[in-house]
């Protein structure tokens, strides 16, 4: 018996060893070979990473596969997408609150213990101060929080904390607080203020709710990052325009040698709100640092800093002064020591300022126009250089020196390393997100695509693997190992508890209450039930469409002729679409999403009778039709 167990154990160990070597071999083979081999993903095979690129002023998210750089899908977020009915069906329409434009900048994956957990993706809409949460279990936008009160342009946003306790937003524009006050721009210093907002995230379902706001000096808040490890509990925000200029910023806001990073102790801020130290302004609990101490500090950063990035260990805060040639590295231990010792160099509107020399750790001469920094798993940092159109690789720690540089095409803004802003970057790739593409692709006229480049980080030198164009305009991005995500492929029908869902042919019907008409419709290959809908002119018609399919990729569309009304209903889903019966006559509708061999036959008619024509309170489809559909659904 003992011997058998020994043999069994030995076999298990051997199996594990084989599995390990095979895993290693995969890795190694990925790093060797030509650039073409390294980005080639065979037909039918999958990429190793999901990359989420912000869609910029499209207001959406582009999903790419890496290393193939293939565009897989686009997730509509802040702007309507009529193809799938986003912003058309009642639920998403309510979420958009009438906005048809957003400018999405910084996707932020949810984290647990400082690493991506693959649950949600947050993204900001800068101009309208909104934050959206995309559920990665179905890649759908599920909440849009905001407009955040008092806050003008959420650029430093959302940059989640290590356990997704908070997402943040800070005002790019200072403005009067509350916003609905008429003042002159000339009264800027007296009347305008910045706002830093902490938005709480429910740990179970990701629901965002207002946590706190902090009233800040009227600077322009730019980017943010969360502390991790030893700096957990803090969020860092860069700002420029400490000159407090309100016009000709190009000149006037570039005069000071030093601007600031604001360091927010978000646990202290929440505690202050919970203890009642906040004033309610514009519906949000606002803390004034002049009255409530210990919540926020400033420390100087040279020359209009842009990006701020905390290294994987959480010890260093790296800020790039975009008008100088250095990355300034601050030690969190020194920041903490200065705060604890109360060593302040005065205050700005109630916010204590830490002395620069007391907190700075190193200055790394990276090159011209440093903007953002990402990290790998070997102790190196990668900083994008806008003016030099390069990425600089440098050592985090002594001698704080650049070890490699690579050209990018052209004028790089953000860069994104594989899991490169977490506690455990994978160190495999970085994607350069370029602001200009100029001559890199076939000429399509004056509106150039944006450029992006995949760069291999696995060797001693960075190596350019692939160029790919993107539509306007990714800013920041996130890259997560594919095995961390497990999206569904259909919505299980038995979990569909939508109030207007129907699951049996016998329940298909048209109900009328006054001028409101509710159409309970089901779709399954290849018909609508009912497919003849009788209404009167002037009726408010709500189509509640349930897709009874449970097969992969069998989505149906519901588009009405002579209208802007169309939506896609995924397998197992119920969606509601409103349509006003404006014109007497026959108004056809059809399946707008190719579904099957008889897709062209999938259609129906709305009969619009003159107003006041008598119609039954409940109409049901032809019993023969119902029986036929019921027979088809016999197994449901």
């Amino acid at each position: 018996m003992k011997r058998w167990m020994m043999i069994g154990c030995a076999a298990l160990v051997a199996l594990a060893a084989i599995a390990q070597t095979q895993g290693c071999m995969k890795r190694v083979s990925g790093a060797s070979g030509s650039a073409a081999q390294r980005v080639y993903v065979k037909p039918g095979e999958h990429d190793a990473y999901y990359a989420f690129l912000s869609g910029g002023h499209h207001g959406n998210i582009y999903v790419y596969g890496m290393p193939s750089c293939r565009h897989i899908t686009t997730i509509p977020v802040f702007t309507p997408e009529p193809a799938v009915g986003y912003g058309v069906d009642e639920e998403s329409k309510a979420m958009l609150k009438g906005f048809t434009w957003g400018d999405a900048h910084h996707p932020g994956l949810s984290e647990t213990d400082g690493d991506y957990d693959g649950r949600w993706l947050f993204i900001n809409d800068m101009p309208n101060a909104r934050i959206a949460r995309i559920d990665l279990h179905d890649f759908k936008t599920r909440q849009i929080f905001g407009p955040i009160p008092n806050l003008s342009a959420a650029h430093a946003c959302p940059f989640p904390t290590p356990n997704t306790e908070y997402v943040f937003a800070a005002s790019r524009f200072s403005a009067p607080v509350p916003l609905d006050r008429y003042v002159r721009a000339a009264d800027y210093q007296k009347e305008f203020r910045g706002i830093i907002a902490g938005i709480k995230v429910d740990p179970k379902d990701g629901t965002m709710s207002m946590g706190f706001e902090i009233l800040m000096p009227p600077y322009n808040y730019d980017l943010a990052d969360a502390g991790k490890g030893p700096s957990h509990g803090w969020e860092f925000f860069t700002c420029y325009n400490s000159e407090m200029a309100y016009d000709s910023l190009e000149l006037k806001a570039s005069q000071n040698e030093m601007d600031y990073i604001a360091a927010v102790d978000w646990r202290a801020a929440q505690k202050a709100v919970d203890e009642g130290h906040a004033k309610t302004v514009g519906g949000a609990p606002v803390l004034d640092p002049a009255a409530v101490k210990g919540v926020v500090y400033l420390f100087p950063v040279p020359k209009s800093p842009h990006g701020v990035d905390v290294d994987p260990t959480g010890q260093y805060v790296c800020a790039a002064g975009k008008l100088q040639a250095e990355v300034s590295v601050y030690s969190f231990a020194k920041i903490k020591a200065a705060i604890d010792a109360g060593r302040f160099d005065g205050e700005r509107m109630g916010v204590p300022v830490l002395p620069y020399e007391d907190v700075v750790e190193a200055k790394v001469p990276v090159g011209l126009g440093p903007l953002h920094t990402q990290f790998d798993d070997k102790g190196y940092a990668y900083t994008s250089l806008f003016l030099d159109s390069q990425i600089a690789k440098w050592k985090v720690g002594p001698p704080w020196a650049v070890v490699d540089k690579i050209d990018v095409y052209y004028s790089i803004g953000h860069l994104m390393a594989s899991e490169g802003d977490t506690r455990h970057p994978t160190g495999e790739y970085v994607v350069a997100l370029d602001k200009l593409s100029k001559d890199r692709y076939l000429n399509v006229g004056p509106t150039h695509p944006e450029g992006a480049q995949l760069i291999d980080l696995r060797g001693p030198k960075m190596e350019l693997l692939y160029d790919f164009p993107t539509y306007l305009e990714p800013h920041y991005a996130q890259m997560i190992r594919a095995e961390k995500l497990h999206p569904i492929t259909v919505y299980p029908l038995d979990q569909n508890t939508k109030p207007y869902a129907i699951k049996r042919a016998e329940d298909a019907r048209i109900e009328r209450k006054g001028r409101r008409v509710d159409v309970y419709m089901l779709v399954i290959r290849t018909h609508f039930t009912p497919d003849i809908v009788r209404v009167n002119q002037g009726d408010d018609v709500y189509f509640h469409v349930t897709n009874l399919e449970q097969d992969d990729d069998i989505a149906h569309g519901f588009g009405i002729l002579w209208s802007s009304k169309n939506m896609q209903i995924e397998p197992g889903e119920t969606k509601t679409m409103y349509w006003k019966a404006e014109r007497v006559g026959i108004n056809p509708f059809y399946c707008s999403n190719f579904c099957s061999a008889l897709h062209q036959e999938m259609q129906g008619y709305i009969e619009v009778a003159p107003a006041g024509t008598p119609v039954a309170a409940v109409q049901r489809p032809d019993p023969a039709q119902v029986a036929e559909v019921a027979a088809e659904l016999a197994n449901e």
């Binding site: 290959r525 449970q550 097969d551 061999a597 008889l598 088809e632 016999a634 197994n635």
Partner: protein, 209 residues
């Protein structure tokens, strides 16, 4: 001959009959082992669609298959349509009990009668299964969108049907039933010198009775 039939088995053969009964157990008593599979692959279904037939039900991608079948006017496949599922587990239970009884009593006639009945039942059920396949492929709704020539899906083995490649093969349940069935002739072969042994055993058996 009569003496042979009314004779009893040696201990080793009795154990083999118990084995046969035990083999039948998971197939009928807890219908957890499938007796037949149909596996279908099409260009747009590279992952394949499966039907798994048990003694008391059909599982697998029924809904997906029925949805596709409605285009050609095939009847929806639903477990409710099969009376067989109501008696098949019970019938097999009976054979299992018979085998156990034969093992306990050691009576050759009981074992042989049970084996013959089991064989007959298997032939009937296989015939029934072929009939069902024929019916599904022939009783097509004349109003169907796609009009097919009547067909019979493969009873066993491979067949190409429209855009589907179809494999049909017995499941582990049937393999177990087959082994149980084969134990019949195997025991008889082991017993080929039995009459001689019987003469010695017979008095003991009478004493026990």
């Amino acid at each position: 001959m009569t003496r042979y039939l009314f004779g009893s088995f040696a201990a080793a053969q009795r154990q083999l009959i118990v084995v046969a009964a035990v083999l039948l157990l998971p197939v009928f008593f807890l219908p957890m082992l499938p007796i037949w599979h149909l596996y279908m692959v099409a260009p747009q279904y590279p992952e394949g669609l499966s039907l798994h037939i048990f003694t008391n039900t059909i599982r697998g991608d029924l809904d997906k298959i029925n949805l596709l079948n409605h285009y050609v006017g095939m009847h929806a496949i639903t477990p409710r349509d099969f009376r067989e599922f109501a008696y098949m587990p019970q019938a097999l239970t009976l054979f299992g009990v018979a085998a156990l009884a034969a093992a306990l009593l050691g009576r050759r006639w009981l074992a042989i009668a049970g084996w013959l009945a089991f064989t007959g039942f298997a032939v009937l059920m296989f015939n029934d299964y072929v009939h069902w396949l024929y019916r599904y492929g022939h009783d097509l709704d004349p109003r169907a969108a796609i009009k097919l020539q009547a067909f019979t899906p493969p009873v066993i083995g491979y067949q190409k049907m429209a855009n589907f490649r179809v494999w049909s093969f017995p499941g582990i349940g049937t393999w177990l039933l087959g082994i149980a069935w084969l134990l019949g002739p195997a025991i008889l072969w082991l017993e080929r010198r039995a009459p001689a042994a019987d003469d010695e055993d017979a008095p003991k058996a009478h004493d026990a009775a």
